[in-house]
Symmetry: C2
Amino acid sequence: MNDERARLEETRDEFVTQWGIMGAQWGINRTMAQIHALLMTAPEVMSTDEVMEVLQISRGNAHTNLKDLVGWGLIRIVTKKGERKEFFEAEKDVWEIFRRVARERKRREIDPALETLRNCKAATEDMELPDGKAFHEQMMQLEDFVSFASKMGDRVATMQHGKAIKLAMKIFG
Amino acid sequence: MNDERARLEETRDEFVTQWGIMGAQWGINRTMAQIHALLMTAPEVMSTDEVMEVLQISRGNAHTNLKDLVGWGLIRIVTKKGERKEFFEAEKDVWEIFRRVARERKRREIDPALETLRNCKAATEDMELPDGKAFHEQMMQLEDFVSFASKMGDRVATMQHGKAIKLAMKIFG
DNA sequence: ATCTGATTTCAGTAATTACTGAAAGTTCAT
DNA sequence: ATGAACTTTCAGTAATTACTGAAATCAGAT
């Protein structure tokens, strides 16, 4: 019985570690991903001190990454009545997590990229040189694709869990 | 006219720089992304030396990143008859680029993550503690979602350009 | 077998990114 | 206004990741 508790903590550790590795590969700070994993599998809300304790990290590090996660909309601040401390709670619904990551990546990464592609396209609009024409054509294709991806992102971000799954099933099932 | 050439090179530089920044945000080495951008917009195949020259990087760096790009299937080696040197050429079709990135990321990142999720799920299969049950449930949901994403990746990777666009239009149009 | 023009490797170094811990700032009760 | 409990910032440092350049290796021509 106490053995089960130990086994659970071990498994949870494995999950936290792997989620951290995965995050790092996707350009997300390892610690941030670990905290996320920890909170996603936390039976209760956690305080900054608890996170520090479990992951063995400094206050500054814990603080920064917790606030970044709040910025991504992946965790939220919870206050307990009578307590002054902040506690944190993760969004656990997988579809909701996906939506929020999609929305933020679009905002932070896709939209700026689109901006550049549009500039590059515009700057070569009128060119006569074959190389200029080819470049312009390439920018156009990239822009079309990225803006399509961006629109899909918007669409997904406003879709409800059930609908999205059913729709996807219909297409890919 | 020569002014146009200069303007083109300037614009191309902007594109290379921005593609590098974007790559870095997605967890891809900046130089690798820059080389990719350079080759995507190259009117002719390029040699290692040309890449070194344009981006002002060392031979080792150019070599490593060119080979990595070959590994991702984003560029290919071309040999000119009579020449001993290797030249490189990028895949320019945007849908094809997307497919290859999707395929590689799935292989390198999604599949290993799935593996972990399955382990964690299995390790908590039989637990009686409420916390253990909750953890198991969370792993299940994650696994369902990630494996669904993985299947979609497969599906997309084998789809032809035209079909994919039409399908997507039907859904999101 | 040797030479030449190329590719590949890798030890050392540079640049970037992440983390620590202590100090400063905030908030709220008294 | 003071102080206790907590949050935020940030200069300094550690860890990680990327890059250089020279030496080793390879492949074809003679």
